[in-house]
Symmetry: C2
Subunit: 318 residues, 2 copies
């Protein structure tokens, strides 16, 4: 089933210990779309400038991603420059030029309206909410956000959370939203704000899925786990990587693998959620292996499933 | 099969957001012994002062831990005072009084000499090596260390590493020993110094077992994993805990559960190693639930196995 994603399509200049790349194709919606495209149909809503040409368009076309919702405006595309020289786990931002993105007014093409899945990538929560409200009939809505919106745009963000089925954020963001330093307590507090499911991404240590009571009742859960954790949880590993070339977009690629797999399933059962967590980790790990979106452009489903099996081997007792 | 452990038996004054306890029974050998005692026979080599009396002795006796190797000296036992007020993941040390520990000369009781397993807890590598050499016939030797020895006692530590089958340390220590910030590369470098197996503890995110080529050849491994990771790995989760009362000793309890389970098995197969990683996580999680060794004193094997099943539920796809 098709996913519509709204978010940034951008150019990134990235420096890591492995080297430097100028103006790679980037942006959350780009990474998300590429990762999700290996599982299901993807439709993008974004805005780009005149610097987004045939070469960039071709990256989406090659993965059969619908770009009719990418608006072209006069001016330049969103540009980000950052480096990971001291810390591979957190980018140091040097330049953020919003450019055409500053005037972004998401418009939903009519041909996107039958999408059953909606992903609200990390953009202004006011825009996230507008898109959510314009697509009231979707079956499942997931979203992302970041420290900036949590800190300075809390009321608007809280409105978005109310309309989310799944929120995907990292440890710091979870604790920030909740104002609580214990991850389990913070997760419960965030879920009380709306999201039925919460995926907390731990970077190189993987990610934890917290399932709401209603979802967890569908599985045979032990009373002990609910007692100990308070909510039902599932932990997926990240791949121990010999070489991280560029972590940019790993979180968005996780989201694409996770939500793409979920959308490809006839039923979003707890088992499907667990497998989705693995596919999220798989796509995040591939994203780190090359600069920008390079690795995500040339994967095969066989490579993806081979790595899925590695994740199983990495975590399963037998 | 019996484990002999050499390390500290101490008194700890601990403050966490959950409260404060004065002079709890502590020390790496204490946590290790208690955790391992649920799986196999444990024998301790340590030194204590006159403040170690019947009440402390009774904690070991209740778990049938052999204390004939605990030497009693005039003076006071090792004392540590620390807090976790700002950061539950890392203690802030206020006081370290070595006391009788400063003159520790490990003596191995004859009745310990048939131990097939040896654990060298975190003490001066010169003492670790002496004990290792005095017990040349053990079947499997595991050990721990810390930043202080890595930084300022490297030559002595390198000698210890040569004689280890398994090293259990955390991420920072692994990277410090190797002088390399990539965990996989660092793990490989550390294993080249001696340990056939390396367990890297990630605190609240669990732990990764790196298996040497020779061990990994015993299991049906995919060529892809060796290609991607360079070594065979297994990741065990930590329990997402609703409330961490006191993280002191969690790493030593992990080691006790891990090595205790391994020692209880007829064969130290890769499957046994994987299960041992889970039991390590299980014992580490229990340790955090009460101050000091309180929770580790009163467990049952049924509670331990119930939590083992929770760890499986937390990580397995179905």
């Amino acid at each position: 089933m098709a996913i519509t994603v709204v978010g940034s399509v951008a150019f990134d200049t990235i420096e890591t210990p492995a080297g430097k790349r100028d103006r790679c194709l980037g942006g959350a919606a780009t990474y998300f779309s590429l990762a999700a495209s290996y599982f299901t149909d993807v439709r993008v809503i974004a805005v780009v400038g005149e610097d987004f040409g045939r070469r960039q368009e071709a990256v989406f076309q090659a993965r059969k991603i619908d770009t009719r919702g990418i608006e072209h405006m006069a001016g330049k595309s969103f540009f980000w420059e950052g480096s990971y020289l001291e810390n591979m786990n957190e980018a140091k931002t040097h330049i953020t030029d919003l450019n055409v993105f500053a005037a972004f007014e998401p418009k939903i093409p009519d041909v996107y309206r039958d999408s059953e899945f909606l992903f609200l990538a990390n953009i202004d929560p006011i825009l996230q909410r507008r898109v959510r409200e314009a697509m009231p009939d979707v079956k499942l809505v997931a979203g992302d956000t970041m420290n900036y919106w949590i800190k300075d745009h809390r009321p608007a963000l809280l409105e978005v959370l109310k309309g989310l089925d799944i929120l995907l954020i990292n440890d710091t963001e979870t604790k920030m939203i909740a104002g609580n330093n214990n991850l389990v307590q913070a997760a419960r507090a965030v879920m009380a704000l709306g999201p039925k499911e919460l995926v907390v991404k731990h970077g190189e240590y993987g990610a934890t899925l917290f399932l709401s009571e209603s979802a967890s009742q569908q599985v045979s859960e032990s009373a002990e786990q609910r007692k100990s954790i308070g909510v039902k949880a599932f932990r997926a590993p990240a791949m121990p990587l010999e070489e991280v070339i560029d972590p940019t977009g790993a979180g968005d690629s996780f989201a694409g693998g996770f939500f793409g797999y979920l959308a490809s399933q006839p039923e979003q059962s707890p088992t499907a959620y667990r497998r989705a967590m693995f596919y999220g980790g798989v796509m995040g790990s591939f994203a780190c292996e090359r600069f920008g979106t390079e690795r995500l452009q040339t994967l095969t489903r066989a490579e993806i499933d081979e790595r899925f099996n590695l994740f199983r081997e990495l975590t399963h007792l037998a």
